[in-house]
Assembly symmetry: none
Homo-oligomer: 204 residues x 4
């Protein structure tokens, strides 16, 4: 009981730090963020940060991985009830865009700091993140495959990645110029694009 309470408190502190770190990292990027700043932001001392994360890099990847898991499970839930390809794609577009809008902190971390993933950083966490990403693609791919005709010229993982890439760039646009974008319309538009392409069938 006492143990449980202790552990709960510890987990609580961990979360407080993660939350503050997410914001600061998103605002300033990895290199520009100082542990000092994160400490200030979450109200704990610098030393305490190291009680929960063994390095700045560990903290950084922990933030991303934690969120990435939430992202994947959100998507998973969103597409779980889809009955056909229209619904799957619609759900994907909708859920991804929505998640990024609601967690633009995470988006900035994940997209804008891919550098950390591509360059250096041994720590083993890089690998953990890459795995998470692959699992994410795989999950999406499988869901699409179920509803895609076997003779489709589009491979499901190509489709999965293309959708994700499109959402990424639109989210970026939305972050930089929010006033030029109506999210609801945009989501419909993108969904249509991936469903039917630009050439109306009647033309054929």
């Amino acid at each position: 009981m006492t143990m449980d309470r202790k552990e709960l408190r510890k987990e609580q502190h961990r979360l407080e730090i993660l939350e503050a770190a997410e914001q600061v990292f998103a605002r300033q990027g990895f290199h520009t963020t100082t542990m000092e700043k994160v400490a200030e932001e979450c109200g704990w001392s610098k030393g305490t940060l190291y009680l929960h994360f063994k390095s700045k890099e560990d903290l950084f990847f922990s933030v991303i991985i934690e969120k990435a898991e939430k992202f994947t499970s959100t998507l998973e839930k969103a597409i779980s009830t889809a009955q056909n390809i229209e619904e799957v794609i619609g759900a994907l577009v909708n859920a991804q865009f929505q998640f990024f809008i609601e967690n633009n902190d995470f988006f900035q971390l994940a997209v804008a700091e891919q550098g950390k993933v591509m360059h250096g950083s041994d720590s083993g966490m890089r690998e953990g993140l890459l795995e998470k990403q692959q699992h994410h693609v795989l999950m999406t791919t499988q869901s699409l495959q179920k509803h895609l005709p076997d003779d489709s010229p589009i491979k499901p993982d190509t489709l999965a990645r293309s959708i994700m890439g499109a959402i990424n760039i639109h989210t970026l646009t939305w972050l930089l110029q929010p006033e030029t974008i109506n999210p609801e319309e945009l989501k419909l538009e993108i969904t249509q694009l991936f469903l039917h392409g630009v050439i109306p069938c009647t033309k054929a």
Copy 2:
């Protein structure tokens, strides 16, 4: 005349530095790259770097902008002769993917270091780059618009960005797992996807 020669020589040096910088930045990322390293790589001294670029950040953005211009003009040329929407999209997909593959240094800079674009960095160069990017989108958009039916449910700039986003993510995949990807097939697949979507017309 002597002046011309002088200026030519100076421009030559500038290019040498840019080229070295591109490689090092791509290899190591912005923060991990030192001016010392760039100096070594191009054979000039650290001090000389500052005769051509007023700061590390200036050098960094110069590299990107220079390449971004080449990118835009390459695309422009590629789509200039397209006669219809199929050809425009085909050319876009082909040219972008090709450019990234041939200039993956640039791709890593541009995509993996978007952080520099989003975060901080006053230097005014950030704005310059954003402008370039907007111009790029505009150019692509206009070209698409010319060949898109007026009543198309897909707005040309949505299309332009979606294609670009898709290419981005496939390039990234290619960089991380080159063996899983056949560029030629992939280009065709993506083109088909944006032209006709995933739902075959015959179904209708």
Copy 3:
């Protein structure tokens, strides 16, 4: 009674800590040793260490002083039964070398960390240790004086220190290159050296 038991228990804990500390300090040196490590080694928590010693420095000096007292009393016993100068010197050489070999932990602390004695460290313990050392020299000196002819050109405290210095350096050599040294032979040799010097009397 209960009090006695309590105090005994407390003393017991103190000894456990001292023993662990001696080993860790000897192994790692003062600065490289952490209270955490000592705590681990003795099975008590960091906080408990501070119930017995008011600082890391206090712990350090306590270890040394405790051992230094044992050292002095060992020597005292060894020379107490000596009947003449030969026996005193023989006993000194033998006992010192033996003690260092058996307590090389202590030797490393005492000799290799003389820095702590010479530099800084207010704590008052420095003085305590210096006093102990002076008492040690005094004791040895007096014992030598008793058996030294009054007209000896060698002052007993010069002799005492010289022997101690010689033993020190030989112990150090033994620690660094144990294979090059035969302790028994060496002890005899040193004893001879201090008794008769290098110039055989017959020569005279």
Copy 4:
């Protein structure tokens, strides 16, 4: 020429740093000394220190090794003209004590910080220093051997070390209680001790 001048200047700076470092290290010990402090002391900036020495440890060992070489060559010179064992020992005692008195900074470093030699510190410099010390002992040993009767019960390297150890401890005493010691007398006394021991020959 210009090159020579540059190199001379560089060497000069290096020496300035070494000198300051020697004093600070001797005063405060290795761990307690900060690069900041050394920088202040020599008037150069912290960064400059790293232009000449790749780490604090490198600086530390450089100081010691540099001086150790001077020590060895001083001794070598001192005993080079000795004609017999009396003169060799006399010269050794005299030169060593003299050197330590004149370079007590070095003595404090070398003796009081043997910890650095015994504990940790990879850097390869540790080995360099140990080598130097062995060479020193060897040199002294050989010189003694030349003048020692073949049948002497005292091995020359035992003698060399014993003398060195004795001098060490007397120097330490002199540092801590200078007023109790008359160096000139002491040197004679020690020389006598090692030559003839404590037992007058006439006794025999």
